[in-house]
């Protein structure tokens, strides 16, 4: 099993946000997590990535069979975990190419492989740009500074394409994309998906799931996974909303 989350409880600033999450993701799978605003989807992705704001109070996260709770975010990244941020961070003064090369070479080094020099890397990254239909001029721009919403999302996928993670967590990567950009991004993800990796897509809309078919769909409500199913669940949610699931939770919660 690539990722196993067991009874995960998470707090931030003294408030419990995740209230017992169980989730298993294996290689070759694509999972979708849906749910209303504030249900804890981003928190889940950030906790898996090791964000320092969150405290795990109970439960565990296993990656390839080992707990990663004590690992720094960079160690998790080296293990092969990648989160595409819902709100990609602007980093003034640092160009895309510098960050990409440093990140790529850090990973190469961690795996005991040869780093690429700037020229070799430039060839490599230009190929990756094509994958997400990104103008190579963006490589010389400061990371996410002055990028449009869609450009930021595409930039996240470019980073993912360069780092080729085992587990890709895509937090609302589809929102704010017009239909052309959505197709490009979806094609990019599909070309990366394979038998030895897995993707978890957090999304509001079923729209993206028409392009990338998930094996499993989970719906989060109030810090819990209220329901899991196959891709038809996404369609149901799109039609009926989340209220019927909230009731579900309350009944189970009271039981």
């Amino acid at each position: 099993m690539l990722l196993e989350i067991e009874n995960l409880h998470v707090e931030a600033e003294g408030t419990e946000i995740l209230k017992g999450i169980d989730l298993k993701v294996d290689t070759g799978q694509i999972h979708a997590i849906m749910g209303p605003n504030g249900s804890g989807k981003s928190t889940l992705a950030k906790v898996i990535s090791g964000h320092p704001d969150y405290e795990v109070t109970r439960g565990d996260i296993l990656f390839e069979g080992e707990s990663i709770l004590e690992d720094e975010p960079d160690e998790r990244a080296q293990d092969g975990i990648f989160m595409a941020f819902q709100y990609p961070v602007e980093v003034p003064g640092v160009t895309n190419s510098v960050l990409l090369r440093q990140a790529y070479n850090a990973r190469q080094e961690a795996r005991g492989e040869q780093p690429l020099d700037p020229l070799q890397f430039d060839d490599f990254v230009r190929e990756k740009c094509k994958l997400v239909d990104m103008d190579p001029d963006f490589l010389d721009r400061n990371v996410n500074v002055g990028f449009s919403g869609g450009e930021k999302k595409r930039n996240e996928i470019l980073q993912m394409a360069v780092l080729e993670p085992k587990l890709g967590l895509l937090d609302e990567t589809d929102s704010g994309l017009d239909i052309d950009a959505l197709r490009t991004v979806a094609d990019g993800i599909k070309s990366l998906a394979g038998d030895d990796n897995a993707y978890v897509m957090v999304t509001h809309y079923q729209r993206v799931l028409e392009y990338i078919e998930p094996n499993h769909v989970h719906v989060m409500v109030g810090g819990r996974i209220a329901k899991s199913g196959d891709k038809d669940l996404a369609v149901t949610v799109e039609e009926k909303g989340y209220d019927w699931l909230a009731d579900d939770i309350e009944t189970t919660g009271a039981a």
Binding site: E72, V89, G93, V94, Q102
Partner: protein, 446 residues
Amino acid sequence: MSAESQMNLQDRSESFVRALLDGTEDLEGPTRRHRLRSDALERLETLRVPGAKDEAWRFLRLRPMLDVEIGSTPTPSDDEVQQLVDAKAFDEADGRRLVFVNGAFSETFSSLEGFGDDVHAGRIAGPDEADLESIDGHLGSAADVFDEDYFAQINQAGFRDGGYVVVPPDTAVDGPVQLLNVVTGGDESFAVQPRALIVAGRGSKVSVVEDFVGADGSTYINNCLTEVCVEESATVDHVVVQGDSDRAYHMNRRAIDMDDGANYNSRTISYGATFSRFDVHSRGDGEEIDCTLDGLAILSDDQVSDTHSVMDHRQGHSGSHQLHKMIIDDESHAVFNGKIFVQQHAQKIDAYQLNRTLSLSRQAKVNTKPQLEIFADDVSCTHGATIGQLEPEQLFYLQARGLTEDQARELLIFGFAAEIVDTIPVASVRDRITETIQAQTRSLGA
């Protein structure tokens, strides 16, 4: 402060002045330097060393500098100098490099053959001093804004030599000019007083890199003064790099005179010296001038660096830009005071000033005061100051991409500096400073 310690301070300052002027008493005859010297000595009669009560100096303690025992200036070996020159000399300025070693012009290390016939460049106090007509009317002219400045007057009275570059009208100098001030010495402390004059004639263009470099461990006072005259529609690019010895005291005065349509573009990078003070005064006495006074100071340990600048807009339809950044670590102390004056008849002025500090330590101190004094009504001026730490969200973002916390910090600190460094117009100087600053930031914030 008690009357007694005040007296001591004045006593100290008198012996300080004597020491800095030592050996220049023999200046003879009606040379320019002689005139500057006698005027300056006269002013020094009434000037006092600035103290805690002087608004412009209140954050600095000058006492440690005044207490430096100033001995005779050493003559270093060529090997020693070679090392420092090699580290700073850049290819683009080969043939246009003036090198001063401990304040004295170095025939060995300078190369002037690249200036061509029309550009006047060389040393101010050479054997042909009396015949240097090209600097007549320029040497000492912009510096009059420092008539009341104690340290400027000590330089005027006691500088032994200096470099000048005078570009005739409608001439573009082929490539950048380097003014390289190398200071190195033995166990005794000493003082140097570099001087520079840059004149860009009407419609001309020149790029100057002024480097100060010292051998770490040497204790000295570097009391330098630079004048820049940018005449009608001329353009001057000016990069100043302060990389003095870790035990040096760097006192830097710079006066810029700008005529109609003049462009002055400067970046000041400061990372050396235990103590540095910059006073930059730009006098915009023409319409349609454009002045940039950007800066970057990087401080660690107990370094102190203070920048006081004045942008004086005396005529209209002009613009100025000043982004001054400071990175402070450990117990260092950074001071910024930037004044923008817009005089009564100077309408349509577009002035921008921002001071940004990145603080990497709770013990580090910063005092900042951007100041506008506007006497005209049709102007657009913005100014401000920010002080911040590294952003946790940015750190997490980089770590989530696989950079260690140290690598992430380094990249962010460097990114903060890069906004200034990346605008240095000479590629190899930009690369050199990038490397220097990367080496500096590697040890910062740890």
